[in-house]
Protein backbone atom coordinates (compact mmCIF):
# COMPACT_ATOMS: atom_id res chain seq x y z
CA UNK A 1 0.00 0.00 0.00
CA UNK A 2 1.14 3.45 -0.85
CA UNK A 3 -0.82 5.69 1.48
CA UNK A 4 -0.05 9.37 1.74
CA UNK A 5 1.37 10.33 5.13
CA UNK A 6 -1.54 12.64 5.95
CA UNK A 7 -4.03 9.76 5.65
CA UNK A 8 -4.68 7.12 8.27
CA UNK A 9 -3.84 3.50 7.47
CA UNK A 10 -7.49 2.56 6.96
CA UNK A 11 -7.78 4.81 3.93
CA UNK A 12 -7.26 3.21 0.55
CA UNK A 13 -7.67 3.87 -3.11
CA UNK A 14 -8.83 1.90 -6.13
CA UNK A 15 -5.34 0.74 -7.00
CA UNK A 16 -5.06 -1.05 -3.66
CA UNK A 17 -8.20 -3.05 -4.33
CA UNK A 18 -6.09 -6.11 -5.01
CA UNK A 19 -4.71 -6.22 -1.50
CA UNK A 20 -8.18 -5.92 -0.01
CA UNK A 21 -9.83 -8.83 -1.81
CA UNK A 22 -7.88 -12.02 -1.00
CA UNK A 23 -9.00 -14.24 -3.87
CA UNK A 24 -8.89 -11.43 -6.43
CA UNK A 25 -5.33 -12.27 -7.30
CA UNK A 26 -6.17 -15.87 -8.25
CA UNK A 27 -6.84 -15.00 -11.89
CA UNK A 28 -3.56 -13.19 -12.48
CA UNK A 29 -1.46 -15.51 -10.30
CA UNK A 30 -2.77 -18.61 -12.06
CA UNK A 31 -2.28 -17.12 -15.53
CA UNK A 32 1.29 -16.23 -14.56
CA UNK A 33 1.81 -19.83 -13.39
CA UNK A 34 0.44 -21.15 -16.68
CA UNK A 35 2.55 -18.77 -18.76
CA UNK A 36 5.68 -19.80 -16.84
CA UNK A 37 4.85 -23.43 -17.54
CA UNK A 38 4.82 -22.64 -21.27
CA UNK A 39 1.12 -22.35 -21.98
CA UNK A 40 0.40 -19.70 -24.64
CA UNK A 41 -1.97 -17.74 -22.42
CA UNK A 42 -2.79 -14.09 -23.01
CA UNK A 43 -5.07 -11.75 -21.06
CA UNK A 44 -7.21 -8.75 -21.71
CA UNK A 45 -9.62 -6.51 -19.90
CA UNK A 46 -11.94 -3.59 -20.50
CA UNK A 47 -10.60 -0.89 -18.15
CA UNK A 48 -10.82 -3.16 -15.10
CA UNK A 49 -7.28 -4.42 -14.57
CA UNK A 50 -7.38 -3.42 -10.90
CA UNK A 51 -10.86 -4.82 -10.30
CA UNK A 52 -9.88 -8.24 -11.60
CA UNK A 53 -6.24 -8.17 -10.57
CA UNK A 54 -4.94 -8.62 -14.12
CA UNK A 55 -2.68 -5.62 -13.51
CA UNK A 56 -0.31 -8.17 -11.98
CA UNK A 57 -0.28 -10.31 -15.15
CA UNK A 58 0.22 -7.16 -17.22
CA UNK A 59 3.31 -6.38 -15.14
CA UNK A 60 4.79 -9.84 -15.66
CA UNK A 61 3.81 -10.35 -19.30
CA UNK A 62 3.18 -6.92 -20.85
CA UNK A 63 3.45 -8.34 -24.38
CA UNK A 64 0.65 -10.79 -23.66
CA UNK A 65 -1.72 -8.32 -22.04
CA UNK A 66 -4.20 -6.24 -24.00
CA UNK A 67 -5.97 -3.23 -22.56
CA UNK A 68 -9.18 -2.86 -24.55
CA UNK A 69 -10.60 0.15 -22.79
CA UNK A 70 -14.34 0.34 -22.20
CA UNK A 71 -15.30 -1.71 -25.24
CA UNK A 72 -16.48 -5.12 -24.13
CA UNK A 73 -17.89 -6.23 -27.47
CA UNK A 74 -14.68 -5.37 -29.27
CA UNK A 75 -12.73 -7.20 -26.57
CA UNK A 76 -14.70 -10.43 -26.99
CA UNK A 77 -14.58 -10.38 -30.81
CA UNK A 78 -10.88 -9.54 -30.75
CA UNK A 79 -10.21 -12.34 -28.26
CA UNK A 80 -11.70 -14.77 -30.77
CA UNK A 81 -9.32 -13.34 -33.38
CA UNK A 82 -6.37 -13.73 -31.01
CA UNK A 83 -7.33 -17.37 -30.42
CA UNK A 84 -7.05 -18.15 -34.16
CA UNK A 85 -3.31 -17.48 -33.96
CA UNK A 86 -2.69 -20.17 -31.34
CA UNK A 87 -2.79 -18.03 -28.21
CA UNK A 88 -5.32 -18.81 -25.45
CA UNK A 89 -6.89 -15.50 -24.47
CA UNK A 90 -8.48 -14.91 -21.06
CA UNK A 91 -10.60 -11.77 -21.18
CA UNK A 92 -12.19 -10.40 -18.06
CA UNK A 93 -14.72 -7.76 -17.14
CA UNK A 94 -17.78 -7.42 -14.93
CA UNK A 95 -20.17 -10.35 -15.45
CA UNK A 96 -23.01 -7.92 -16.04
CA UNK A 97 -21.25 -6.67 -19.14
CA UNK A 98 -19.49 -9.68 -20.60
CA UNK A 99 -22.41 -12.09 -20.35
CA UNK A 100 -25.12 -9.68 -21.44
CA UNK A 101 -23.60 -6.77 -23.39
CA UNK A 102 -21.24 -9.03 -25.34
CA UNK A 103 -23.58 -12.04 -25.48
CA UNK A 104 -23.96 -12.00 -29.26
CA UNK A 105 -20.22 -11.67 -29.79
CA UNK A 106 -19.73 -14.66 -27.49
CA UNK A 107 -22.20 -16.69 -29.53
CA UNK A 108 -20.96 -15.69 -32.98
CA UNK A 109 -17.23 -15.20 -32.62
CA UNK A 110 -16.29 -17.42 -29.68
CA UNK A 111 -18.68 -20.37 -29.45
CA UNK A 112 -19.92 -20.77 -33.03
CA UNK A 113 -16.35 -20.33 -34.28
CA UNK A 114 -15.13 -22.78 -31.60
CA UNK A 115 -12.30 -20.54 -30.47
CA UNK A 116 -10.67 -21.45 -27.12
CA UNK A 117 -11.42 -18.09 -25.51
CA UNK A 118 -11.84 -17.97 -21.73
CA UNK A 119 -14.39 -15.35 -20.72
CA UNK A 120 -14.16 -14.25 -17.11
CA UNK A 121 -17.25 -12.52 -15.74
CA UNK A 122 -16.23 -11.25 -12.34
CA UNK A 123 -18.24 -9.52 -9.59
CA UNK A 124 -21.11 -11.73 -10.67
CA UNK A 125 -24.55 -12.16 -9.12
CA UNK A 126 -25.39 -9.48 -6.58
CA UNK A 127 -21.83 -9.15 -5.30
CA UNK A 128 -21.71 -5.54 -6.52
CA UNK A 129 -24.33 -4.81 -3.88
CA UNK A 130 -25.15 -1.12 -3.73
CA UNK A 131 -23.72 -0.40 -7.20
CA UNK A 132 -27.14 -1.50 -8.34
CA UNK A 133 -28.82 -3.42 -11.11
CA UNK A 134 -26.53 -2.18 -13.90
CA UNK A 135 -23.70 -3.97 -12.09
CA UNK A 136 -25.62 -7.05 -10.92
CA UNK A 137 -25.43 -10.18 -13.07
CA UNK A 138 -28.33 -12.48 -12.31
CA UNK A 139 -28.96 -13.54 -15.90
CA UNK A 140 -25.50 -14.55 -17.12
CA UNK A 141 -25.78 -18.31 -16.47
CA UNK A 142 -29.01 -18.27 -18.42
CA UNK A 143 -27.64 -16.42 -21.44
CA UNK A 144 -24.38 -18.34 -21.53
CA UNK A 145 -26.03 -21.73 -20.98
CA UNK A 146 -28.18 -21.26 -24.07
CA UNK A 147 -25.11 -20.93 -26.30
CA UNK A 148 -24.08 -24.19 -27.94
CA UNK A 149 -20.52 -25.45 -27.39
CA UNK A 150 -19.85 -23.04 -24.52
CA UNK A 151 -18.78 -24.47 -21.15
CA UNK A 152 -20.23 -22.55 -18.19
CA UNK A 153 -18.41 -22.60 -14.87
CA UNK A 154 -19.21 -21.04 -11.49
CA UNK A 155 -16.42 -21.75 -8.98
CA UNK A 156 -17.20 -21.73 -5.25
CA UNK A 157 -14.03 -19.98 -4.11
CA UNK A 158 -10.53 -18.95 -5.10
CA UNK A 159 -8.99 -22.39 -4.60
CA UNK A 160 -11.52 -24.05 -6.86
CA UNK A 161 -11.23 -21.26 -9.42
CA UNK A 162 -7.48 -21.76 -9.50
CA UNK A 163 -7.77 -25.48 -10.17
CA UNK A 164 -10.41 -25.04 -12.86
CA UNK A 165 -8.37 -22.26 -14.49
CA UNK A 166 -5.42 -24.60 -14.59
CA UNK A 167 -7.59 -27.23 -16.26
CA UNK A 168 -8.73 -24.61 -18.80
CA UNK A 169 -5.22 -24.31 -20.26
CA UNK A 170 -5.62 -27.72 -21.88
CA UNK A 171 -9.38 -27.67 -22.45
CA UNK A 172 -10.54 -27.50 -26.06
CA UNK A 173 -13.87 -25.70 -25.77
CA UNK A 174 -14.51 -22.04 -25.06
CA UNK A 175 -15.37 -21.37 -21.41
CA UNK A 176 -17.36 -18.80 -19.48
CA UNK A 177 -16.23 -18.45 -15.86
CA UNK A 178 -18.50 -16.51 -13.51
CA UNK A 179 -16.63 -15.52 -10.39
CA UNK A 180 -17.18 -13.30 -7.38
CA UNK A 181 -15.53 -10.15 -6.17
CA UNK A 182 -12.53 -11.70 -4.49
CA UNK A 183 -14.09 -11.88 -1.02
CA UNK A 184 -15.50 -15.39 -1.43
CA UNK A 185 -15.53 -17.31 1.85
CA UNK A 186 -13.11 -20.22 1.71
CA UNK A 187 -14.62 -23.63 1.06
CA UNK A 188 -11.68 -25.67 -0.20
CA UNK A 189 -8.00 -26.27 0.46
CA UNK A 190 -5.69 -24.79 -2.14
CA UNK A 191 -4.63 -28.12 -3.58
CA UNK A 192 -7.97 -29.88 -3.70
CA UNK A 193 -8.50 -31.10 -7.24
CA UNK A 194 -11.47 -30.40 -9.47
CA UNK A 195 -12.30 -31.25 -13.03
CA UNK A 196 -14.38 -29.24 -15.48
CA UNK A 197 -17.69 -31.01 -16.05
CA UNK A 198 -17.46 -33.17 -12.92
CA UNK A 199 -19.50 -32.12 -9.90
CA UNK A 200 -17.95 -32.16 -6.43
CA UNK A 201 -20.28 -34.46 -4.51
CA UNK A 202 -19.96 -33.83 -0.77
CA UNK A 203 -22.72 -36.28 -0.01
CA UNK A 204 -26.27 -37.32 -0.87
CA UNK A 205 -28.82 -36.87 1.89
CA UNK A 206 -31.81 -39.13 2.38
CA UNK A 207 -33.95 -36.14 3.32
CA UNK A 208 -32.42 -33.43 1.17
CA UNK A 209 -29.55 -32.77 -1.20
CA UNK A 210 -28.62 -29.21 -1.98
CA UNK A 211 -27.14 -28.57 -5.40
CA UNK A 212 -25.35 -25.23 -5.36
CA UNK A 213 -22.81 -23.28 -7.38
CA UNK A 214 -20.58 -20.28 -6.87
CA UNK A 215 -20.61 -18.35 -3.61
CA UNK A 216 -23.78 -20.18 -2.54
CA UNK A 217 -21.74 -23.36 -1.97
CA UNK A 218 -20.29 -21.90 1.22
CA UNK A 219 -23.69 -21.12 2.74
CA UNK A 220 -25.10 -24.40 1.49
CA UNK A 221 -22.31 -26.28 3.23
CA UNK A 222 -23.06 -24.50 6.49
CA UNK A 223 -26.75 -25.26 6.08
CA UNK A 224 -26.10 -28.95 5.38
CA UNK A 225 -23.86 -29.23 8.45
CA UNK A 226 -26.56 -27.60 10.58
CA UNK A 227 -29.31 -29.83 9.18
CA UNK A 228 -27.27 -32.96 9.81
CA UNK A 229 -26.48 -31.76 13.33
CA UNK A 230 -30.23 -31.32 13.87
CA UNK A 231 -30.86 -34.96 12.97
CA UNK A 232 -31.78 -34.67 9.30
CA UNK A 233 -29.97 -36.46 6.52
CA UNK A 234 -28.67 -33.74 4.21
CA UNK A 235 -26.13 -33.77 1.39
CA UNK A 236 -24.44 -31.28 -0.91
CA UNK A 237 -23.36 -31.23 -4.51
CA UNK A 238 -21.11 -28.40 -5.68
CA UNK A 239 -22.12 -28.05 -9.33
CA UNK A 240 -19.25 -25.81 -10.36
CA UNK A 241 -19.72 -26.71 -14.03
CA UNK A 242 -23.25 -25.85 -15.04
CA UNK A 243 -22.66 -26.81 -18.65
CA UNK A 244 -21.95 -29.53 -19.54
CA UNK A 245 -24.01 -30.53 -16.49
CA UNK A 246 -22.95 -33.58 -14.51
CA UNK A 247 -26.28 -35.33 -15.09
CA UNK A 248 -25.23 -38.46 -13.23
CA UNK A 249 -24.75 -36.44 -10.05
CA UNK A 250 -28.18 -34.84 -10.44
CA UNK A 251 -29.84 -38.19 -11.06
CA UNK A 252 -28.17 -39.72 -8.05
CA UNK A 253 -29.54 -36.97 -5.82
CA UNK A 254 -32.94 -37.11 -7.50
CA UNK A 255 -33.09 -40.88 -7.01
CA UNK A 256 -31.94 -41.03 -3.40
CA UNK A 257 -33.18 -37.84 -1.74
CA UNK A 258 -36.71 -36.78 -0.89
CA UNK A 259 -35.94 -33.17 -1.78
CA UNK A 260 -33.46 -31.57 -4.16
CA UNK A 261 -32.87 -27.88 -3.44
CA UNK A 262 -30.90 -25.80 -5.92
CA UNK A 263 -29.21 -22.65 -4.67
CA UNK A 264 -27.59 -20.02 -6.87
CA UNK A 265 -26.72 -16.33 -6.87
CA UNK A 266 -28.78 -15.92 -10.03
CA UNK A 267 -32.33 -15.63 -11.24
CA UNK A 268 -34.15 -18.92 -10.64
CA UNK A 269 -35.13 -18.72 -14.32
CA UNK A 270 -32.54 -20.12 -16.68
CA UNK A 271 -29.75 -20.83 -14.25
CA UNK A 272 -28.55 -23.85 -12.28
CA UNK A 273 -32.05 -24.55 -10.96
CA UNK A 274 -33.44 -24.66 -14.48
CA UNK A 275 -30.62 -26.92 -15.65
CA UNK A 276 -31.34 -29.35 -12.80
CA UNK A 277 -35.10 -29.10 -13.37
CA UNK A 278 -34.69 -30.06 -17.03
CA UNK A 279 -32.89 -33.27 -16.10
CA UNK A 280 -35.29 -34.14 -13.27
CA UNK A 281 -38.36 -33.50 -15.44
CA UNK A 282 -37.11 -35.89 -18.09
CA UNK A 283 -36.02 -38.52 -15.55
CA UNK A 284 -38.67 -38.76 -12.81
CA UNK A 285 -37.11 -39.98 -9.57
CA UNK A 286 -37.82 -39.89 -5.88
CA UNK A 287 -37.10 -36.25 -5.17
CA UNK A 288 -39.21 -33.18 -5.56
CA UNK A 289 -37.39 -30.02 -6.59
CA UNK A 290 -37.21 -26.54 -5.14
CA UNK A 291 -35.26 -23.76 -6.85
CA UNK A 292 -33.81 -21.04 -4.64
CA UNK A 293 -32.07 -17.88 -5.76
CA UNK A 294 -33.18 -14.48 -6.99
CA UNK A 295 -36.89 -14.85 -7.63
CA UNK A 296 -37.13 -13.22 -11.06
CA UNK A 297 -36.70 -9.70 -9.74
CA UNK A 298 -34.07 -6.95 -9.70
CA UNK A 299 -32.18 -7.12 -6.45
CA UNK A 300 -32.27 -4.36 -3.90
CA UNK A 301 -29.16 -2.34 -3.20
CA UNK A 302 -27.17 -2.73 -0.02
CA UNK A 303 -23.74 -3.97 1.01
CA UNK A 304 -23.35 -7.48 -0.44
CA UNK A 305 -23.32 -9.43 2.83
CA UNK A 306 -26.59 -7.81 3.85
CA UNK A 307 -28.03 -8.72 0.43
CA UNK A 308 -27.02 -12.36 0.89
CA UNK A 309 -28.89 -12.35 4.20
CA UNK A 310 -31.90 -10.66 2.65
CA UNK A 311 -32.15 -13.14 -0.22
CA UNK A 312 -31.38 -16.08 2.08
CA UNK A 313 -28.21 -17.01 0.22
CA UNK A 314 -26.09 -17.26 3.39
CA UNK A 315 -25.88 -20.29 5.69
CA UNK A 316 -28.81 -19.46 8.00
CA UNK A 317 -30.96 -18.37 5.05
CA UNK A 318 -30.37 -21.53 3.06
CA UNK A 319 -30.99 -23.62 6.18
CA UNK A 320 -34.32 -21.85 6.68
CA UNK A 321 -35.35 -22.51 3.07
CA UNK A 322 -34.31 -26.16 3.38
CA UNK A 323 -36.08 -26.76 6.71
CA UNK A 324 -39.33 -25.46 5.27
CA UNK A 325 -39.17 -28.31 2.78
CA UNK A 326 -38.63 -31.10 5.30
Amino acid sequence: MNVKPDLTADSWQYRDLNSRAPSLSVLADTLIELAREGHPVAAGTADLQHSNGLVKFAGEYPDRFIQFGISEQNMVSAAAGIATTGMIPYVATFASFIGLLACEQIRMDVAYCAQPVRLIGHHTGISMGFYGTSHHATEDISTMRAIADLTVVSPADGAQFRQLLRHSATYAEPIYFRIGRGHDPVVYDRDESFELGKAKVHGIGDDITIIACGMAVHGAKQAVDALNAAGHSAGLIDMHTIKPLDEAAVLEAAGRSRVVLTVEEHNILGGLGSAVAEIMAENPGRARLKRHGIMDEYALISPPMRLYQHYKLDGPGIREVAEALL
Binding site: S71, N74, A78, T85, G86, Q105, M108, D109, Y112
Partner: protein
Protein backbone atom coordinates in the same frame (compact mmCIF):
# COMPACT_ATOMS: atom_id res chain seq x y z
CA UNK B 1 3.86 -8.91 -56.91
CA UNK B 2 6.08 -5.86 -56.79
CA UNK B 3 5.16 -2.75 -54.89
CA UNK B 4 4.54 0.42 -56.84
CA UNK B 5 5.13 -1.33 -60.12
CA UNK B 6 2.75 -0.85 -63.01
CA UNK B 7 0.57 -3.75 -63.90
CA UNK B 8 1.29 -5.46 -67.18
CA UNK B 9 -1.50 -5.77 -69.72
CA UNK B 10 -1.55 -9.48 -69.00
CA UNK B 11 -1.96 -8.88 -65.26
CA UNK B 12 -4.75 -6.40 -65.85
CA UNK B 13 -6.56 -8.83 -68.12
CA UNK B 14 -6.18 -11.62 -65.58
CA UNK B 15 -7.57 -9.47 -62.75
CA UNK B 16 -10.48 -8.36 -64.95
CA UNK B 17 -11.08 -11.97 -65.87
CA UNK B 18 -11.21 -13.04 -62.22
CA UNK B 19 -13.64 -10.24 -61.34
CA UNK B 20 -15.80 -11.42 -64.23
CA UNK B 21 -15.48 -15.00 -62.92
CA UNK B 22 -16.72 -13.83 -59.49
CA UNK B 23 -19.80 -12.22 -61.06
CA UNK B 24 -20.57 -15.20 -63.28
CA UNK B 25 -20.18 -17.72 -60.47
CA UNK B 26 -22.36 -15.57 -58.22
CA UNK B 27 -25.14 -15.72 -60.81
CA UNK B 28 -24.71 -19.49 -61.14
CA UNK B 29 -24.74 -20.17 -57.40
CA UNK B 30 -27.71 -17.94 -56.70
CA UNK B 31 -29.65 -19.90 -59.31
CA UNK B 32 -29.23 -22.86 -56.94
CA UNK B 33 -30.36 -20.97 -53.84
CA UNK B 34 -33.05 -19.02 -55.71
CA UNK B 35 -32.29 -15.96 -53.61
CA UNK B 36 -29.07 -14.09 -52.93
CA UNK B 37 -26.95 -10.97 -52.75
CA UNK B 38 -25.90 -10.37 -56.36
CA UNK B 39 -25.45 -6.64 -56.05
CA UNK B 40 -23.39 -6.84 -52.84
CA UNK B 41 -20.89 -9.05 -54.67
CA UNK B 42 -20.91 -7.02 -57.87
CA UNK B 43 -19.78 -3.90 -55.98
CA UNK B 44 -16.72 -5.69 -54.56
CA UNK B 45 -15.80 -8.14 -57.36
CA UNK B 46 -12.75 -6.05 -58.27
CA UNK B 47 -11.72 -5.87 -54.60
CA UNK B 48 -11.92 -9.68 -54.33
CA UNK B 49 -9.92 -10.06 -57.53
CA UNK B 50 -7.17 -7.59 -56.58
CA UNK B 51 -6.71 -9.13 -53.14
CA UNK B 52 -6.82 -12.83 -54.00
CA UNK B 53 -5.09 -12.71 -57.38
CA UNK B 54 -2.45 -10.09 -56.76
CA UNK B 55 -2.00 -8.46 -53.37
CA UNK B 56 -2.39 -11.01 -50.59
CA UNK B 57 0.44 -13.34 -49.56
CA UNK B 58 -1.15 -16.80 -49.80
CA UNK B 59 0.03 -20.35 -50.18
CA UNK B 60 -1.52 -23.63 -51.23
CA UNK B 61 -2.15 -24.28 -47.54
CA UNK B 62 -5.16 -22.24 -46.37
CA UNK B 63 -3.92 -22.67 -42.78
CA UNK B 64 -0.38 -21.33 -43.40
CA UNK B 65 0.29 -19.32 -40.20
CA UNK B 66 1.86 -16.39 -42.04
CA UNK B 67 -0.73 -16.04 -44.80
CA UNK B 68 -2.40 -12.68 -45.17
CA UNK B 69 -5.90 -12.80 -43.70
CA UNK B 70 -9.12 -11.69 -45.33
CA UNK B 71 -12.22 -10.99 -43.27
CA UNK B 72 -15.51 -9.67 -44.48
CA UNK B 73 -17.83 -7.63 -42.31
CA UNK B 74 -20.32 -7.84 -45.15
CA UNK B 75 -20.48 -11.63 -44.87
CA UNK B 76 -23.48 -11.68 -47.20
CA UNK B 77 -21.05 -11.30 -50.11
CA UNK B 78 -19.60 -14.76 -49.35
CA UNK B 79 -21.21 -16.19 -52.49
CA UNK B 80 -18.58 -14.20 -54.39
CA UNK B 81 -15.73 -15.44 -52.20
CA UNK B 82 -16.49 -19.17 -52.32
CA UNK B 83 -15.67 -19.56 -56.05
CA UNK B 84 -12.30 -17.89 -55.43
CA UNK B 85 -11.47 -20.24 -52.56
CA UNK B 86 -12.38 -23.22 -54.75
CA UNK B 87 -10.34 -21.72 -57.59
CA UNK B 88 -7.39 -21.51 -55.19
CA UNK B 89 -7.78 -25.21 -54.51
CA UNK B 90 -8.77 -24.81 -50.84
CA UNK B 91 -11.77 -27.11 -51.31
CA UNK B 92 -13.17 -29.16 -54.21
CA UNK B 93 -14.99 -27.12 -56.86
CA UNK B 94 -17.92 -29.56 -56.62
CA UNK B 95 -18.74 -28.11 -53.22
CA UNK B 96 -19.99 -25.04 -55.05
CA UNK B 97 -22.75 -27.10 -56.66
CA UNK B 98 -24.15 -27.83 -53.19
CA UNK B 99 -24.39 -24.11 -52.34
CA UNK B 100 -27.08 -23.58 -49.64
CA UNK B 101 -28.40 -27.15 -49.93
CA UNK B 102 -29.08 -29.24 -46.81
CA UNK B 103 -25.82 -29.84 -44.99
CA UNK B 104 -23.68 -27.85 -47.44
CA UNK B 105 -20.63 -26.12 -45.96
CA UNK B 106 -21.50 -23.13 -48.15
CA UNK B 107 -24.32 -20.89 -47.02
CA UNK B 108 -25.18 -17.25 -47.46
CA UNK B 109 -22.54 -16.33 -44.87
CA UNK B 110 -19.00 -17.73 -44.54
CA UNK B 111 -18.26 -20.34 -41.85
CA UNK B 112 -14.60 -20.85 -40.91
CA UNK B 113 -15.35 -24.23 -39.34
CA UNK B 114 -16.75 -25.60 -42.57
CA UNK B 115 -14.97 -23.78 -45.38
CA UNK B 116 -11.17 -23.99 -45.73
CA UNK B 117 -9.82 -20.57 -46.62
CA UNK B 118 -12.40 -18.61 -44.65
CA UNK B 119 -10.26 -16.81 -42.08
CA UNK B 120 -13.15 -15.87 -39.83
CA UNK B 121 -16.89 -16.52 -39.86
CA UNK B 122 -19.18 -13.55 -40.31
CA UNK B 123 -22.77 -12.64 -40.83
CA UNK B 124 -23.44 -10.44 -37.83
CA UNK B 125 -22.51 -7.03 -39.21
CA UNK B 126 -19.93 -5.11 -37.20
CA UNK B 127 -17.74 -7.87 -35.74
CA UNK B 128 -15.14 -8.36 -38.45
CA UNK B 129 -12.87 -5.43 -37.74
CA UNK B 130 -12.67 -6.52 -34.09
CA UNK B 131 -11.85 -10.07 -35.20
CA UNK B 132 -9.15 -8.62 -37.45
CA UNK B 133 -7.76 -6.51 -34.60
CA UNK B 134 -7.53 -9.68 -32.51
CA UNK B 135 -5.80 -11.63 -35.29
CA UNK B 136 -3.26 -8.82 -35.63
CA UNK B 137 -2.71 -8.74 -31.84
CA UNK B 138 -2.30 -12.52 -31.73
CA UNK B 139 0.12 -12.39 -34.66
CA UNK B 140 2.15 -9.79 -32.81
CA UNK B 141 2.29 -12.05 -29.71
CA UNK B 142 3.31 -15.04 -31.84
CA UNK B 143 5.79 -12.92 -33.84
CA UNK B 144 4.12 -13.85 -37.12
CA UNK B 145 4.36 -11.57 -40.15
CA UNK B 146 1.13 -11.07 -42.05
CA UNK B 147 -1.36 -8.41 -43.06
CA UNK B 148 -5.05 -8.46 -42.15
CA UNK B 149 -7.43 -7.19 -44.83
CA UNK B 150 -10.94 -6.50 -43.56
CA UNK B 151 -13.63 -5.60 -46.06
CA UNK B 152 -16.51 -3.66 -44.53
CA UNK B 153 -19.82 -2.57 -45.95
CA UNK B 154 -20.68 1.12 -45.84
CA UNK B 155 -23.94 0.37 -44.02
CA UNK B 156 -21.74 -1.43 -41.50
CA UNK B 157 -20.37 1.97 -40.45
CA UNK B 158 -23.62 2.35 -38.49
CA UNK B 159 -22.57 -0.40 -36.06
CA UNK B 160 -20.96 0.98 -32.90
CA UNK B 161 -18.58 -1.95 -32.57
CA UNK B 162 -16.81 -0.88 -35.79
CA UNK B 163 -15.71 2.29 -34.03
CA UNK B 164 -14.62 0.40 -30.90
CA UNK B 165 -12.43 -1.68 -33.19
CA UNK B 166 -11.22 1.43 -35.03
CA UNK B 167 -9.96 3.14 -31.88
CA UNK B 168 -8.38 -0.08 -30.63
CA UNK B 169 -6.50 -0.71 -33.90
CA UNK B 170 -5.14 2.84 -33.84
CA UNK B 171 -4.37 2.73 -30.11
CA UNK B 172 -2.48 -0.55 -30.46
CA UNK B 173 -0.74 0.75 -33.63
CA UNK B 174 -1.80 -2.19 -35.73
CA UNK B 175 -0.25 -0.99 -38.98
CA UNK B 176 -0.84 -4.40 -40.59
CA UNK B 177 -4.62 -4.00 -40.39
CA UNK B 178 -6.00 -2.69 -43.68
CA UNK B 179 -9.72 -1.98 -43.77
CA UNK B 180 -11.44 -1.64 -47.14
CA UNK B 181 -14.85 -0.02 -47.14
CA UNK B 182 -17.05 -1.06 -50.03
CA UNK B 183 -18.74 2.33 -50.37
CA UNK B 184 -21.54 1.30 -52.72
CA UNK B 185 -24.00 3.69 -51.11
CA UNK B 186 -26.87 1.29 -50.50
CA UNK B 187 -28.09 -0.93 -47.72
CA UNK B 188 -31.21 -3.06 -47.29
CA UNK B 189 -33.60 -0.20 -46.57
CA UNK B 190 -32.26 2.24 -49.17
CA UNK B 191 -29.47 4.76 -49.63
CA UNK B 192 -27.01 4.58 -46.77
CA UNK B 193 -27.08 8.32 -46.31
CA UNK B 194 -30.89 8.34 -46.12
CA UNK B 195 -31.08 5.42 -43.70
CA UNK B 196 -28.35 6.76 -41.38
CA UNK B 197 -25.89 9.30 -42.73
CA UNK B 198 -22.24 8.28 -42.40
CA UNK B 199 -20.37 11.07 -44.20
CA UNK B 200 -17.80 12.52 -43.99
CA UNK B 201 -16.44 8.99 -43.94
CA UNK B 202 -12.78 9.51 -44.80
CA UNK B 203 -12.54 12.32 -42.26
CA UNK B 204 -14.06 10.07 -39.60
CA UNK B 205 -11.41 7.40 -40.12
CA UNK B 206 -8.67 10.01 -40.16
CA UNK B 207 -10.01 11.41 -36.90
CA UNK B 208 -9.86 7.89 -35.44
CA UNK B 209 -6.13 7.79 -36.17
CA UNK B 210 -6.08 5.80 -39.41
CA UNK B 211 -4.19 6.49 -42.61
CA UNK B 212 -6.94 6.94 -45.18
CA UNK B 213 -6.99 6.53 -48.96
CA UNK B 214 -9.84 6.88 -51.41
CA UNK B 215 -10.04 4.97 -54.67
CA UNK B 216 -12.43 3.95 -57.41
CA UNK B 217 -13.21 0.38 -56.36
CA UNK B 218 -13.98 -0.75 -59.92
CA UNK B 219 -10.76 0.65 -61.42
CA UNK B 220 -8.77 -2.54 -61.06
CA UNK B 221 -5.48 -0.85 -61.96
CA UNK B 222 -5.69 2.00 -59.46
CA UNK B 223 -7.15 -0.29 -56.81
CA UNK B 224 -4.46 -2.93 -57.17
CA UNK B 225 -1.66 -0.36 -57.25
CA UNK B 226 -2.99 1.27 -54.09
CA UNK B 227 -3.35 -2.06 -52.29
CA UNK B 228 0.18 -3.05 -53.32
CA UNK B 229 1.49 0.27 -52.03
CA UNK B 230 -0.17 0.14 -48.62
CA UNK B 231 0.84 -3.49 -48.16
CA UNK B 232 4.47 -2.69 -48.99
CA UNK B 233 4.64 0.42 -46.78
CA UNK B 234 6.58 -0.64 -43.71
CA UNK B 235 6.96 2.91 -42.41
CA UNK B 236 3.28 3.30 -41.55
CA UNK B 237 2.61 3.36 -37.80
CA UNK B 238 -1.16 3.43 -38.00
CA UNK B 239 -3.74 1.06 -39.46
CA UNK B 240 -4.89 1.87 -42.96
CA UNK B 241 -8.39 2.46 -44.29
CA UNK B 242 -9.27 2.45 -47.98
CA UNK B 243 -12.60 3.97 -48.91
CA UNK B 244 -13.40 2.27 -52.21
CA UNK B 245 -16.10 4.11 -54.12
CA UNK B 246 -18.19 1.45 -55.79
CA UNK B 247 -21.56 0.91 -57.44
CA UNK B 248 -23.94 -1.61 -55.95
CA UNK B 249 -24.84 -4.17 -58.62
CA UNK B 250 -22.00 -2.94 -60.87
CA UNK B 251 -22.17 -4.58 -64.27
CA UNK B 252 -25.90 -5.18 -64.50
CA UNK B 253 -27.68 -1.95 -65.37
CA UNK B 254 -31.00 -2.52 -63.61
CA UNK B 255 -29.21 -3.52 -60.40
CA UNK B 256 -27.16 -0.33 -60.59
CA UNK B 257 -30.16 1.93 -60.99
CA UNK B 258 -33.00 0.27 -59.11
CA UNK B 259 -32.77 0.13 -55.34
CA UNK B 260 -34.07 -3.09 -53.83
CA UNK B 261 -31.57 -5.47 -55.38
CA UNK B 262 -29.73 -6.02 -52.09
CA UNK B 263 -31.48 -9.37 -52.07
CA UNK B 264 -33.05 -10.86 -55.16
CA UNK B 265 -33.34 -13.62 -57.74
CA UNK B 266 -32.93 -13.84 -61.51
CA UNK B 267 -34.87 -16.46 -63.44
CA UNK B 268 -32.77 -18.82 -65.58
CA UNK B 269 -33.59 -16.71 -68.64
CA UNK B 270 -32.60 -13.46 -66.96
CA UNK B 271 -29.52 -15.12 -65.47
CA UNK B 272 -28.44 -16.05 -68.96
CA UNK B 273 -28.95 -12.47 -70.18
CA UNK B 274 -26.95 -11.18 -67.21
CA UNK B 275 -24.17 -13.65 -67.98
CA UNK B 276 -24.02 -12.42 -71.57
CA UNK B 277 -23.85 -8.82 -70.39
CA UNK B 278 -20.97 -9.62 -68.06
CA UNK B 279 -19.12 -11.58 -70.74
CA UNK B 280 -19.40 -8.80 -73.26
CA UNK B 281 -18.58 -5.76 -71.11
CA UNK B 282 -15.41 -4.47 -69.54
CA UNK B 283 -15.66 -2.71 -66.19
CA UNK B 284 -12.91 -0.18 -65.57
CA UNK B 285 -14.42 2.32 -63.17
CA UNK B 286 -17.54 3.37 -61.28
CA UNK B 287 -18.60 5.48 -64.21
CA UNK B 288 -18.11 3.73 -67.50
CA UNK B 289 -18.75 0.35 -68.94
CA UNK B 290 -16.67 -0.19 -72.09
Amino acid sequence: MTANSDLSQEQIEQLEDRARFVRLETIRLIEIAKVGHYSSVFSCAEIFSALYYDVMALSEDPAWPERDRFLMGKGHAAVGLFPILADKGYFPAEWLDSYTRLGSPLGDHPDMRKVPGVDFSSGSIGHALSNGVGIALGGRMKKLEFDVFVMLGDGEMQEGQVWEAAISAASHRLSNVIAIIDRNGYQLDGKVDDVMAIEPLAEKWRAFGWEVHEVDGHDIVSLTQLLRRVKADTSRKAPCCIVAKTVKGRGISYMETEPGWHLGYLSPEDSEKARQTILTTRITSCGEVA
